[in-house]
Symmetry: C2
Subunit: 175 residues, 2 copies
């Protein structure tokens, strides 16, 4: 499968652009909810531009042996802070919209807390057949960059960041 590597600075610029579009939309989110652990870094960067508190939720679709679970497992969930989401305008943030399964699961769980509104921002969306869907209640769905169905290599997953950057620089795909 084709690989696409992104540098930290490219990710930062993508988030800055996302933040500008969120700002220009007039949606005015009040809280960020980051899906862990992929959403932690994008959400932390978005905070720089939107200056909102971040809540995190941890979700796993896989067991330690990498087999897929029948339904996502909650690693950490919002519980005592659930009432803080009630009546608030949420911005849900994740790294990549792949099969859309995790995203739909998190959206439906958050909607059950009766937020005033829910919008979604992802760094990347893979253009592929999706197994989940974005529920109609979602006010906005922002994508930093549309990507082909490739293996996306994020800088935070790099064991050697210099080697990773070499892969970024030799990238052939225009994205």
């Amino acid at each position: 499968m084709e690989q696409i590597a992104f540098s930290y600075n490219e990710i930062h610029d993508t988030v800055a652009d996302l933040a500008r579009r969120i700002d220009a939309s007039g949606y005015s989110p009040e809280v960020i909810v980051a899906i862990g652990t992929g959403g932690f870094i994008p959400a932390r960067i978005i905070k720089t531009f939107l200056n909102l508190p971040i809540y995190t939720v941890g979700i796993s679709l896989y067991l330690e042996d990498h087999t897929t679970l029948p339904s996502p497992k909650k690693i950490q969930w919002i519980d005592e802070v659930e009432q803080k989401l009630n009546g608030r305008r949420i911005l849900l943030v994740d790294e990549v919209d792949d099969s859309r399964t995790t995203l739909e699961y998190c959206i439906r769980e958050l909607l059950s807390n009766d937020p005033a509104a829910l919008a979604v921002a992802v760094l990347h969306n893979k253009q592929k057949e999706k197994r989940g869907e974005i529920p109609a209640e979602v006010s906005y769905y922002w994508v930093g960059r549309e990507l082909p169905d490739a293996w996306v290599k994020y800088p935070w997953d790099a064991l050697d960041i210099q080697e990773h950057d070499a892969a970024v620089h030799s990238r052939e795909v225009a994205v």
Copy 2:
């Protein structure tokens, strides 16, 4: 006050080095607890090397008008997952050890959940007079880099990452 700017790749390398020292210590943490929001990015990078689940806790020392609170306010805390910390070996991760107040507060709260052991890793420690202390129960305290008492500029706080990198390259202090 002197400013010291770090690039994302420098932070990544510092975390890689921290992870190697944590690994070599034999401490063998079982879970990472990230102090939000500063600890989100270092913790997510550490996960790449140590492959552990991340729990997050949100703490604020400040009100929205930037006045300091008499005691830290919990933004999001570990509640239904508290039992997951009980009897586990925790690695607590934060961005910078500044006055040490937040760090001590989080350590004492986590210790009250009876973990098997608690160790701390911070990207940076500012060499200055501290208002908090590292409790004696802490097994290890790892610092990525010791810094003077300066204004540390993290890449994730940059409104313009190219300008930020220019500040990194013009850095005069050896750190």
